[in-house]
Symmetry: C2
Subunit: 399 residues, 2 copies
């Protein structure tokens, strides 16, 4: 399919029609940074989400899961600085309290308000401040940028994007799975669209997009108690509804994939302590599951990540990671390129220009292409290098 979608300059979650947002500094995080905000839609939305599969789930995740069972939402209240996880009954009470405050502030039914939190586990939310500050949030038409800043934790830059395609817009923002300082890798992603989207289809489209994007990023292999990817479609752009199997669905899916892959790459590039984005393409796999697990295992390998950090063309580590991934492979059929340069053919070293490979590894983006020569399935995974700084960030904390 031709490229029918375009990036919007400085776009974000309030780029689609009818979405507004705002944030304040409630002192949950530290210093005077924004850490509490609301995303709001003028019109009712079809909504769908993908949540953490961790069996230890934060209260806001459990609450939002319940509230999304009707496939509808109008607003989300989000905080950083406190995960509101492992807080027992108090946690659920506070999550519900936050939602109620936000519902009152924007004037919608509390059942249509979702909650997301990210931050330290096992500390309770400062509900007094939140009670005081939610009414102070100025919900404005271009408030997406402020909200994108408010959900940041150890992220060094906000992650926002918007794409226009076929008469509608999809916007998105995310915070990285570089772990929140000082606690857990939490990935939050919020997507908005003014397209008219069938509620059932919306969930399927989100799952497809997340499977090839956010589910293929690894910073350190630690899934969080608070992960959440949410999409809200308010229909403000009008036109034919996007339903499964339609031409419009193809356009919508392509644009949604584009938004999600953009945010995924932004997350990987901004992994804690990261100095490089790593993209691993595995092709020629016997099955899609094989391609996915091989790509993810390579990009998650501490040894591969450390080698990239040192600009070391250490291809043995790449092959060994593939070998232990569980993907069906024959060591004698492996073919590997780094930065487009062939290092391994038929499972044995190929002569290559070492300086050229090192120069590629020295760059901002490192690309590895591994061909298994077992079949036709392919997958791409993203990650980042492993630096001394990652360890420093994650070992300095309360003490």
């Amino acid at each position: 399919m031709k490229n029918e979608s375009d990036f919007i300059a400085s776009g974000g979650i309030t780029s689609p029609e009818g979405f507004m947002a705002g944030a304040v500094s409630a002192g949950i995080k530290y210093m005077n940074r924004p850490d509490l905000g609301v995303l709001y839609s003028e019109a009712p939305c079809a909504a769908a989400a993908v949540f953490s599969t961790n069996k230890v789930k934060a209260a806001p995740v459990i609450l939002s899961q319940l509230r999304l069972q009707d496939g509808r939402a109008r607003a989300v209240v989000i905080n950083s600085g406190c995960a509101n996880a492992c807080n027992g009954k108090q946690g659920m009470k506070d999550a519900m309290g936050m939602a109620e405050l936000a519902a009152r502030h924007v004037g919608v039914a509390v059942d249509d308000v979702l909650v997301a939190s990210t931050g330290v586990i096992g500390t309770v939310l400062p509900m007094e401040r939140i009670r005081k500050d939610i009414p102070e949030i100025r919900i404005i038409a271009d408030g997406g940028h402020e909200l994108a800043r408010a959900i940041m934790t150890t992220d060094t830059v906000p992650k926002e994007v918007a794409v226009r395609a076929g008469g509608f817009t999809i916007g998105g923002m995310a915070k990285g799975s570089g772990m929140i300082h000082p606690n857990l890798a939490t990935m939050l992603c919020f997507l908005t669209t003014d397209a008219v989207v069938d509620a059932d289809y919306l969930g399927a489209a989100l799952k497809e997009a997340v499977d090839i994007s956010l589910n293929m990023v690894s910073i350190d292999g630690d899934d969080s108690t608070n992960d959440m990817v949410l999409i809200m479609a308010n229909g403000k752009a009008g036109g034919e509804p996007v339903v499964a199997g339609s031409k419009r669905a193809e356009v919508f899916q392509e644009a949604l994939n584009k938004v999600c892959i953009y945010l995924t790459r932004a997350i990987a590039r901004d992994g804690e302590g990261a100095t490089r984005l790593i993209e691993v393409n595995v092709s020629g796999a016997a099955s899609l599951a094989d391609a996915r697990i091989a790509a993810r295992t390579i990009v998650s390998s501490s040894l591969v990540k450390a080698a990239v950090h040192g600009s070391d063309p250490n291809w043995g580590r790449v092959l060994a990671a593939a070998g232990r991934s569980g993907a069906a492979l024959d060591a004698d059929k492996l073919y590997l390129e780094i930065g487009g340069i062939c290092l391994v053919k038929d499972g044995a070293p190929a002569p290559y220009d070492n300086d050229k490979v090192v120069r590629h590894l020295d760059g901002d983006e490192v690309r590895m292409d591994l061909k298994l020569n077992m079949g036709n399935a392919a997958a791409t995974a993203w990650g980042c290098d492993l630096s001394e700084e990652y360890v420093t960030i994650n070992s300095e904390y309360t003490t």
Copy 2:
């Protein structure tokens, strides 16, 4: 069962009767360090091994697997500095060549000689030096210590142990799965015993010991192309044969477990860049598989490892790791102790003395006890903290 086995001071693989060993510096590694050696038994041995499950297997692993099909071995030739992996046909030719040189040197049939290598992937063995140096190896009665040094890579200390029990001795040596500098995590472990052991039983006993020891250690989650755990039993101690289901088998198993756990802890303690040994005990699991995966996932978590490095009582990371491990659990039933101090009860924070926990985390050995309260299964896993030095070791290489 009572403790019927005792550690032998300065024991090693040549502590059991009839085992001899020796090593030389063949210049495979670097500098003038020993890197090539032979383990030899005066009498034929029943032998069994557990090999790497990585689908990319080094030539010596493939060769040794084949040669062990008859359950017999007499000698092993081992080198460090070169993994002889991903070398195509040349690799197998060289592995067979090494075995033949060793067979000639010690005067046994080539079919009874196994091969093990550890080091850089994709470089070929310097066969000329090996051909010259194998005949120079002095095989002596207490040569175990020298051989234990020769198999070291990034290990900072040799890992040796011997235990005497019920009229026989079991000796062992290992090299760590801290990755070889500069390449791959390879764990090699060689066990010897002068007990008379039934060949079939020997394999089962080894599997049982490895399952609760070497299979429960994680330095960085990267399995190698060259991993191998070998046991040889030459029967020189005489007496009743150790057969499955016998009282003697209980004594043998207990001693073997002890040797393997000792070496496992030594490997974890000496992980690359490690400053602490971490022991994670998971109990109250619904199944043994659950207990094992939860313990392994916690001890492998980069976030948990980095927190320990920073002496940070970051229990949220421990719970989150358990939650994503796949083990059946109920977040509200979790109970966690660090260093014997309760931090979490019924899934929520318990009041604790922070200084006391930090003091424990500052020590050489960190112990975590997680109770799932789902059943009666338990498992222990070992690992080490994640330090900046780990990254430095693994990113500095050819360049």
